[in-house]
Symmetry: C2
C-alpha cells in the first residue's frame, strides 16, 4: 500500500482519457460512461475508445487494446466485466497510463477470490506507479470542471458546482449528499472509491486539502484502511485551514456487520474513532443530513472561535424551541447591547420579545419592512456572529418577503444568517433562500446542531498546534513497519513501578527488609504510614496467609507487624522460603482515585485513556482519550472532559485535587510510551491524586512489553531489561 | 378555572354560528373568517352575522349585537378589536351562546391590563357556562368535518383529513405540523387556544381522547396551566388506548424566557416535566419533525409491546447507518428465521447482506421484481413487526419501482413498512409513498427515533395500570383547594425519624440515656455497634464540643464514651443543661448509600426522587422521578432507571444490594406522603442499602410539614402532633 500521497491532479483533471469497454448502447455501463464524458461533461482533452469488437463508436475509431493507442492517456476508465479487469489494468500500466478508474464490481465484496484480485491491483499500482481508483465504485465527479468519469445516469442531474469536497466509500449516501445541493450550495469534487484497492478516502482528503476550489471537506467513512494515512491527510487539511466533517458508518455491532458485508474496511471501535476524530479537529456528525448542514454552514463562513448566536423569528413557539435547543446544546445566546435593545424596542410592538431570542410576532404580517430593519439591528450587534432564522410554516407572500429581506441583510454582512425552513411545503420563500445560496436547513434541531459544531470547530482551531503533530506519526509508523517476531510480556508490579520510576514517574517508595531492624530503618526512612507484605516467591496470595499489614503508623507498629506476619506465615506455610518483608509507603487519605491507561490501537497507534477510578470507568464509562503524544493543553483538556470532572474540582467543600500533578503525570506517561515503542500497554489503576500541592501517584501499575523473540537464552534478560 | 371537562362537541361541530365583526373586506380578519366559513368550509348549519355599521354583508342580513339575534347560536366567533371583546363576550353569554372563539390579540401577552381582561373572561365563563377559546389564537380547524373557524388564509391549503388530533398553544408550529400532512396523512382536528383564558390544551386532549375519528393525539405545550387537569386528560386518553405525543417548548432558561413572552403559561422545570410525561405514557419528543414522524407512525399502527425491527435497503451505506442508529437507540434488530434467510439467499446475489439489515445491493437496478419478492419475505418473518425502508437517493424509475413494490407488500400486511426518503430531490418514488399514505420520514436518524418511541410506547402500555391512577388525582387536588393560611415547619431529626417509624418505615433504633447504666442497657438492647451523642438543647454543634462517639462496639466502649463525652462537654460548655446521651444503632459497613426524597411540585403535586447518594446526585444528576403514589412496578422501574443502577446489582464481585427492601421503602414513603397531605417535603439522605436480605434504612431524615396557622398557643402542639 502506498504510504505517500500522490499528486492526483491528472486524475481529477486529466489531459486525455481512454474509455475501455466503450459502447454506444445507451443502457450499458460503457455507453452511459461515454455519454457522460462526451455529452454532459465539458471535457476538452483527448478521448480514446477501446472496444474489442467494434471499429468505430459514434464515428470515433476504436482500438482493440490500450497497447494499440498512439500515446498514453492520463486516465483509463475501465468499464469491462470483472474477469477482464486485471488484464486491462496491466495493459494500462504497461502503456504508461497514470490513473485508472474501475467501476466493475465483483471483487473483495464477494469474497476471497475478489480480495486476491484486488491484491494484484495493488501490486500493479506499486510496480508501475499507475494509481487505481475502485473497483466497485460509481466513478469520479469533478463538478467544478464539469467532468464526470462515471456511468451514473444521475450525473447530469447533479451538476451544482461549489466549495464542498466530498470523499466517500459507498456511493448511495454520497449521491444523497449531492442531491441536497439543490438547496443552494454545491459539491466541487466527489470521490467515491468503492473497494479502495489502491486510492482511498485519505488520498482525496489530502488532495482536497490542497485544491484551491475546495473550502470544506465532507467525508463518509465505513472503515479506516490505514489510520496513519488518514491522520496525515486530516492534518494536511488542518494546516491548510480547511475543516473536515465526517460521518463514520459502522459504529455499532449491527452497523459493523452491515458495513463489512458492503466493503472490506475495518470498522473500528466507535469510542476510539470518536476520540481520534475529535482530537484531530474532525467534526464528527451522526447522520447524512447533519453532514450536509454542517458542511454547508462551514462553506458559507468559518467560525472565529468566539462565536455567539442570535435567534430571529416571527413565531414565539419556534423562538422558544430554538432557544431551548441552543441551551441544551451548551451554546450561548448573545446578550444584546443596550443600543440593539433600544433600536428593537422602537421598531417592534410592545409585546414582541426584543431580547435574544427575538420574536417579531405577527408584525411581519402588517409591516413588510420590519425584517429589513430589525434583522439588520440584530446582525449589527457586536456580540452576534450567527443568526438562526427559523421559518416554521410557509405563509405565501409573508414568508417570501421575510426571506427576501433577510437575503438583502445577508448581502451586506460577513456574519452568517442561517435559515431553517421547517415546513414540508416548499414555498417561494424557500426558493428565495435557495437561490441566494443560503442553503436552508430543514429541521430546527439539526440547524442548532450544525451551529454547535460550527462554534466548536472555531474553539478547536484556537488551540490547534500544528507544530505538535509529526511526533504522533513517527510513533505510529515505527510500530507498523516492525516485522521481527515478538511476544507480549507482563511485568510484575515491582518491576513495572521500577520502570516507571526510571522514567521519572512518581511512585511510592518500597524496599525489602530482611530483618526487623532493617524494616524499622526502611520505614523510618520512607515515612509513615507504611504497608508491610510478606516477601516470598512461594506465596502468591499474601493476605490468605496473614502476610499483609496495612496502615502501620510508627516503628513499634512495624515491629509488631514483623512478629505477627512471620508467626502467621510460619504457622500456615511452614515450608515457604521467606525473603523478609516488603515495605511500601501508603498514600495519604483524602485523595481521589483515577485511572491512566495506554494501549496501542490497531488502526491509530498508541492512545491514552483517563478517567476516575472504579465505577466511573466500569459503570459510567466516563473516560477521555487522546492519541499520544500529549501536549499540556491536551492533557488539561482531557481531564476537564470527563463528566465527573467536578469531583476533581472539589465538591461539597472538599479541597480541589492536585490537577497540575495529574497533568504532569499524563505528560510523563505520554513521554514514557512515546520514547519506548516496545511498551504495548500501561495501566496505572488506581492513581492516587491528593489535594492541591500533594501530588498524583500511581498505586498500582500493569505494564505489558512487546519483546522480540530471538532465542530462549536471551529472552529473560530482554524482558526485565 | 373549570376543573371538570365540558363536552366540546358543539364547539367542534356547532349547529349554528354567529360571526361578530363579520366583514366583506378580503384582507380583514372578519372578511377572511367569513370566507373560510362560507367559501371553504362545508358548513351546513345556520350562520348569523354581527356588524355595528353594515346592514348586509354578502347579501346576508347583519345584526347590531348578539342580543338582537333571533336565537342563541352554539358558537360565537369574535373578530373585533381588543377593546370591544369583553362586551361581545358578555352579550354572547347573556344570549345563551355555548362557545366563543376569540382571535383578538392584545391580552395577557401584553401585560397586566390584558391579564385582568382574561380574568374577566374566566369570570364570564364561570358565571354563564359559555366556554371561551382564545384570545390571541388562530382559531379552530375541524378538518375531518371541513370546518374552519379561523381567519387564516392558509386554512384552505391544509385540508388533509386524518386520524391525528393536534392540540397546541401557539399557532406557528401547529401549522408547521399541518403542512407536513402533505406527506400523506392528515390532522382531523387542530385546536390552538392561544392565551387559553378558559379552554386549554388539556380540554382538547380530553375531547380527542373520546372523538372516534382521532387515533393519536399530538400536542405542543409551552406551559402547563393546571397540572391536575393535564394529568386527567392524559389518563383519559390512556384509558381509551390513544397515544399522546408531546413536544414541550420552554425547557431551558432561554426557552422559558421566550415562551413566557409568548404566552403566560408556566414553563415548569424540564426534568420534572419529563418525568411526569414519561410516567403517564406521554411520548415526549424534542423537535417538531419528531412530533410529526412519531404521531404519524402511531397513527399507522399501534405497537404490541414486543416489537423488533428490520432494515431493508439497497444501499449498503444506508443499511449500515440505519443499523448503527438502531443499536445506539437500544432497539433490537429481529433475528431472521432460518426460512427467511434461506428464501433471501435464493432471491438475492451472493454478496448481498441477507441477514438483518438487508442490503439487496444494486440487484434492484436489474430486477424490477426483487423488492416485491424479498421485502415480502422480510415482512413475513415472525420476529419482525416494523420494517425501516431507507431510500438515500432519488434514482428515477428504480426508486419509483422500489416504492411501488413496497406499497404492494404493505397492502397485504398489518406490519408497518416505514419509508425514509433521505434525498432533497422529491422524485416519483417519494410521491408514490405519499399517495399511499405511508408518510415517508425525511431524515434517517429521525425515522429511527420515531421507531424507538413507537417501540417504547408499546412497552409502556404493557405495564400500564389504569386502576392505579385516581389516587394520584385526589392527592394533588387536596392540596390545591386548601385555603387556610399555613406555614412550613422542619422537624428535628429525632422527630422526623419518630414520624417515619410510626408510619412503618424502618429506622435505626435510638434512645435517650440519662445515666451511664441506662446507656449500657440501651446499647445492649439495640445491639452493637452504636453511636453516642450528647443530648442537650443548648448544644447545636455536637462534634465541636467533643460530644459525639461513633463505632462503639461493646458495653465498655459505651461506658468509656460516657466519661469522655461528659468530661469534654463540661470542660468546653460548663453552663449547658445536659439531658444525657442519645444512643443510636449504627448501620453495618458494606452497604450502598442512596437518596429518597419527596417534594410537592407546584404544577403536578407530590413527586418522589430516587438516586444513589452523594456525587451521583450532585455531580451526575443521576436520579429517577415519579409522581406519587407509586405501585410496585413503578418503584422497581425507577430503581432500574438510573444510570448507575449496576452498582446496586453488584459490580466487581460485590454482593447485590437489597433492592427488594429498597422497593418496600419507596412504597412506604409513597404511602406515608399519600396519607398525610400536610407533609410538604421529605429527604432521606443517606438511606443505607445493605446486601441482599439486610434491608434498607434511612440514616438521616429531613421532613418539612405544612401546618395551618391558627394562633400561637396551638401552633407548637400542631407541629409535633
Amino acid at each position: 500500500m502506498h504510504t505517500e500521497f500522490a499528486d492526483l491532479s491528472l486524475l481529477v483533471n486529466p489531459r486525455s482519457v481512454v474509455v475501455v469497454g466503450a459502447s454506444d448502447r445507451a443502457d450499458s455501463v460503457g455507453g452511459r460512461t461515454l455519454a457522460n464524458l462526451l455529452d454532459v461533461s465539458g471535457f476538452s482533452g483527448g478521448v480514446y475508445l477501446v472496444n474489442r469488437t467494434r471499429e468505430t463508436i459514434r464515428g470515433m475509431p476504436c482500438y482493440k487494446t490500450i497497447a494499440d493507442l498512439p500515446d498514453a492517456p492520463d486516465l483509463a476508465i475501465v468499464a469491462v466485466p470483472a474477469e477482464a479487469v486485471l488484464e486491462v489494468l496491466e495493459d494500462a500500466a504497461d502503456k504508461g497510463v497514470k490513473f485508472a478508474i474501475c467501476f466493475t464490481s465483483g471483487f473483495s465484496e464477494t469474497g476471497s477470490d475478489g480480495q486476491r484480485a484486488e491484491a494484484k491491483m495493488r501490486e500493479i499500482a506499486r510496480r508501475s506507479g499507475m494509481r487505481i481508483y475502485g473497483p466497485n465504485c460509481p466513478g469520479l465527479n469533478n463538478i467544478n470542471s464539469r467532468l464526470g468519469f462515471t456511468f451514473s445516469p444521475a450525473f447530469k442531474l447533479d451538476l451544482n458546482p461549489g466549495p464542498i469536497g466530498l470523499a466517500t466509500q459507498g456511493g448511495g449516501l454520497g449521491r444523497s449528499f449531492l442531491q441536497a445541493m439543490e438547496r443552494g450550495l454545491g459539491v466541487g469534487l466527489w470521490a467515491s472509491g468503492g473497494n479502495e484497492a489502491d486510492l482511498e478516502v485519505s488520498d482525496f482528503i489530502y488532495y482536497m486539502a490542497e485544491a484551491p476550489d475546495i473550502k470544506v471537506i465532507a467525508t463518509l467513512i465505513e472503515g479506516f484502511r490505514d489510520g496513519e494515512k488518514f491522520i496525515r491527510a486530516i492534518q494536511h487539511a488542518a494546516r491548510n485551514g480547511k475543516p473536515v466533517v465526517a460521518l463514520k458508518v459502522g459504529k455499532s455491532d449491527y452497523g459493523v456487520k452491515a458495513a463489512q458485508s458492503h466493503t472490506a474496511a475495518i470498522a473500528g471501535s466507535a469510542d476510539i474513532n470518536r476520540a481520534v476524530l475529535r482530537q484531530l479537529g474532525v467534526i464528527e456528525v451522526d447522520d447524512v443530513d447533519e453532514l450536509i448542514d454542517t458542511s454547508a454552514l462551514l462553506a458559507r463562513r468559518l467560525p472565529t472561535g468566539d462565536d455567539k448566536l442570535a435567534v430571529y423569528c416571527s413565531s414565539g413557539g419556534a423562538a422558544a424551541l430554538a432557544a431551548d435547543m441552543i441551551g441544551d446544546a451548551g451554546l450561548e445566546l448573545a446578550t444584546f447591547s443596550a443600543e440593539t435593545i433600544a433600536s428593537l424596542k422602537k421598531l417592534l410592538p410592545d409585546y414582541a420579545n426584543i431580547e435574544n431570542p427575538v420574536d417579531t410576532t405577527t408584525s411581519i404580517l402588517t409591516d413588510p419592512e420590519v425584517v429589513d430593519k430589525t434583522l439588520q439591528v440584530v446582525v449589527d450587534d457586536p456580540g452576534v456572529s450567527l443568526v438562526l432564522y427559523p421559518t416554521p410554516l410557509e405563509y405565501g407572500l409573508v414568508t417570501l418577503q421575510g426571506a427576501e429581506s433577510a437575503i438583502r441583510v445577508q448581502a451586506k454582512t460577513e456574519k452568517v444568517i442561517l435559515p431553517v425552513w421547517m415546513s414540508d411545503r416548499l414555498g417561494d420563500g424557500y426558493k428565495a433562500w435557495v437561490r441566494a445560496g443560503m442553503m436552508p436547513a430543514r429541521v430546527l434541531g439539526k440547524a442548532v446542531k450544525a451551529a454547535r459544531r460550527w462554534v466548536e470547530y472555531g474553539v478547536w482551531r484556537k488551540t490547534y498546534d500544528p507544530a505538535y503533530e509529526p511526533l504522533l506519526l513517527r510513533q505510529n509508523y515505527a510500530l507498523q513497519v516492525s516485522s521481527v517476531p515478538y511476544a507480549m510480556r507482563t511485568l510484575s508490579e515491582f518491576d513495572a513501578k521500577a520502570l516507571l520510576c526510571r522514567h521519572g514517574l512518581p511512585v511510592l517508595r518500597s524496599g525489602l527488609a530482611r530483618c526487623r531492624e532493617e524494616a524499622i530503618a526502611l520505614a523510618n526512612d520512607m515515612g509513615y504510614p507504611v504497608v508491610a507484605k510478606i516477601a516470598s516467591a512461594d506465596i502468591t496470595h499474601k493476605s490468605d496467609v496473614g502476610g499483609v499489614a496495612i496502615g502501620l503508623q510508627d516503628a513499634s507498629a512495624v515491629s509488631d507487624a514483623w512478629d505477627r506476619i512471620m508467626s502467621s506465615v510460619r504457622d500456615v506455610r511452614p515450608g515457604a522460603a521467606i525473603d523478609g518483608l516488603l515495605l511500601e509507603q501508603m498514600a495519604k487519605s483524602g485523595g481521589i482515585e483515577v485511572l491512566v491507561g495506554v494501549h496501542r490501537d490497531d488502526v491509530f497507534g498508541p492512545m491514552i485513556t483517563f478517567g476516575l477510578g472504579g465505577i466511573y470507568v466500569e459503570v459510567l464509562k466516563d473516560v477521555a482519550r487522546r492519541l499520544l503524544p500529549l501536549n499540556r493543553i491536551q492533557a488539561q483538556q482531557m481531564i476537564r472532559e470527563i463528566r465527573s470532572y467536578s469531583l476533581l474540582e472539589g465538591i461539597r467543600a472538599q479541597q480541589p485535587a492536585d490537577v497540575d500533578a495529574l497533568v504532569d503525570l499524563l505528560l510523563r506517561v505520554s513521554d514514557f510510551v512515546s520514547e519506548a515503542p516496545d511498551i504495548q500497554e500501561v495501566e496505572l489503576n488506581p492513581v492516587w491524586v491528593g489535594p492541591q500541592g500533594q501530588g498524583a501517584i500511581p498505586l498500582d501499575a500493569v505494564i505489558i512489553k512487546r519483546v522480540e523473540i530471538m532465542n530462549e537464552e536471551t529472552k529473560r534478560s530482554e524482558i526485565w531489561q
